[in-house]
Amino acid sequence: MTKNKNWAKIYLFVVFILLYTPIAYLIYYSFNEAGTMNQFSGFTLEHYAALAEDSRLLIIALDTIRVALLSALIATVIGTFGAIGIYFSRRRQTKNLLLSLNNILLVSPDVIIGASFLLLFTLVGFQLGFYSVLLSHIAFSIPIVVLMVLPRLEEMNGNMITAARDLGANHFQVLKEIILPSITPGILAGYFMAFTYSIDDFAVTFFVTGNGFATLSVEIYSRARQGVSLEINALSTILFLAAFSLVAGYYFIQQQRTRHKLAHMDPTNHEKAVTP
């Protein structure tokens, strides 16, 4: 029994070492004075300083975030209504068809999506740049949002909608007062998912970008091809820390919320409120 446990621990340890070593390696060398990743000669922050002065890279970073925020927002709106549409489609066949179409988009390789977007944009004469990137990001984010929102809808007690109608709510009021509040966690999850996917995306963006517009992943790729500058390391370190603090923050909020809930669930509270 203990032996098994030890093996499990060792396994986990090895997996995490494998996953995190490259990142740690990268972070470690971002502080290297030597300017290469061959040998660590001394601690420096000069790569970070260089990063701060590299206005092109900063603009690209801001553009990346801009695309991510906007595309995630628009995709969330469209995807949420899409999910509601699928949820309310009466016929099982229609529902399954729509779901399948959604899932195909999720699993199809980015390269194919990117290539087909490039084809489409050139065909209709759409100029490549910020808007083409934004549009394609919206497109590949929608299925993600649908996938995050739909389970929330299925979980929701459908009788609530009937009850709201019964109490005099029209369709719009049902949506605003009942459905949207019930699926808010799914919508938020969908938004953050879409945001991450957008920040993350290389393949699609690589195809549809142009006219000097680039996102971080594309820029890093092209710079890495020219020979690695440790500025990239510094940038990656910052991105990693940002992601890390996001996860930590999320964990912290989650903890607080469960504690809050538990305090309210206290069964003794009932009696306290009954006797004034």
């Binding site: 007690n157 009937t162 109608r165 005099g168 709510a169 007062e177 669930m265 009932h270 409120a273």
Partner: protein, 377 residues
């Protein structure tokens, strides 16, 4: 009956789902201010009737009038009818106040009126002071009250209750039965209550409609339905009963279990095959030579309030007796009962014919009782 007193009327209403008939041409009328119960096993169409009145579904055939108006194109939010759902369907993202206030907010009532009305109705269901509570923090019984308050605050002409007590434990359920009945009397609005629990139906209703497979089998007061079930199904569904086959010898004389007995029913053809019902609590255990029937006791079960004794008569019919006195297994005992304890049911009689016959013979029952005494032994 004046038409103003009728709140809901169904005229040959039929409902089909994918060619399968869940309601088969149903007609009935509900009067204002009464407590009605739709009673039947699950899948008999009782909830469908509720959904039709609330407007959640539309009839395939026939017309439904609410307050004398055709409702085919009236959506649920435009009907002065509110529903209490089996699972309450409360809004978990709102507190008690907002749940109850929902209907009023949808009508864009001003805030002061809303908070007055909400606190009034919460007082009515004994939940004053619970306004700020979250739904997750309420117990089952409290949720039930919130659901009732949420419906009542809209001042509906009619309240529909879809098995609202089935999720509660026995004690709470009994309390809520009293409270619901009390509430209905106080408010004077029509309640239509759906249940598969016959005790609930008997305890609360002004009138019960017993349903089976999409049809209303019998309508009547709890007493009528219990004492004069129209057929084997109703007798079996409402309470425990002994049902045996018999023959009507002539008016006021029936033969079953190999003997002749005086009874208070009539109007059948001579020698007609009938079902005979005697309720277990109407049978009295006596000495073997006393009483109309002799049974040998097969089993005896202590039920708390009474003993449940089951025995076989000489013809092999099984009889259940509820008795406060103990007997012994294997012992031969006599069962005593009065002529009015015998309920005769014609096989395949329609409700109209049944009502007419009961009407005709209930008036004569006092005289027949006197005649019955002699024929008993």
């Amino acid at each position: 009956m004046l038409t103003e007193e009728i709140i809901v009327s169904f005229d040959q209403v039929e409902k089909k789902y994918d060619k399968e008939s869940v309601l088969k041409s149903i007609s009935f009328e509900l009067e204002k201010g009464k407590f009605y119960t739709l009673l039947g096993p699950s899948g008999c169409g009782k909830s469908t009737i509720l959904n039709l009145i609330a407007g959640f579904t539309t009839p395939t055939e026939g017309t439904i009038l609410i307050n004398g108006e055709e409702t085919k194109n009236t959506p649920p939010n435009k009907r002065k009818v509110n529903t209490v759902f089996q699972d309450y369907a409360l809004f978990p993202h709102m507190n008690v106040f907002d749940n109850v206030a929902f209907g009023l907010k949808m009508k864009k009532m001003n805030k002061q009126d809303i908070s007055k009305k909400v606190s009034d109705v919460l007082k009515l269901v004994r939940l004053a002071g619970f306004e700020e509570r979250g739904i997750a923090e309420m117990s089952g019984g409290q949720k039930q009250r919130v659901a009732i308050a949420r419906a009542l605050v809209n001042e509906p002409d009619m309240l529909l209750l879809d098995e609202p007590l089935s999720a509660l434990d026995l004690k709470l359920r009994t309390d809520m039965q009293y409270e619901l009945r009390e509430l209905q009397r106080r408010l004077g609005i029509t309640f239509l209550f759906v249940t598969h629990d016959q005790e609930e139906a008997l305890a609360m209703s002004d009138e019960i409609m017993v349903m089976k497979e999409g049809e209303i089998i019998q309508t009547g007061t709890p007493n009528d339905i219990y004492d004069e079930p129209i057929n084997r199904y109703v007798a079996d569904f409402i309470g425990e009963s002994n049902i045996v086959e018999g023959r009507m010898v002539e008016d006021y004389v029936v033969s079953f279990a190999g003997k002749r007995f005086a009874c208070v029913d009539g109007g059948m053809t001579s020698n007609e095959k009938v079902d005979v019902v005697i309720r277990p609590e109407d049978l009295v255990v006596n000495q073997a030579d006393e009483g109309g029937l002799q049974i040998s006791v097969q089993s005896q079960l202590f039920r708390g309030v009474h003993y449940e004794i089951v025995g076989l008569d000489d013809e092999g019919n099984s009889w259940m007796v509820h008795s406060t006195k103990k007997t012994e297994i294997g012992k031969r005992v006599g069962l005593q009962f009065d002529p009015q304890d015998i309920h005769i049911m014609r096989i395949n009689e329609t409700e109209e014919a049944f009502d007419e016959r009961i009407e005709q013979f209930s008036g004569l029952s006092s005289t027949s009782e006197v005649r019955g005494e002699g024929a008993d032994d």
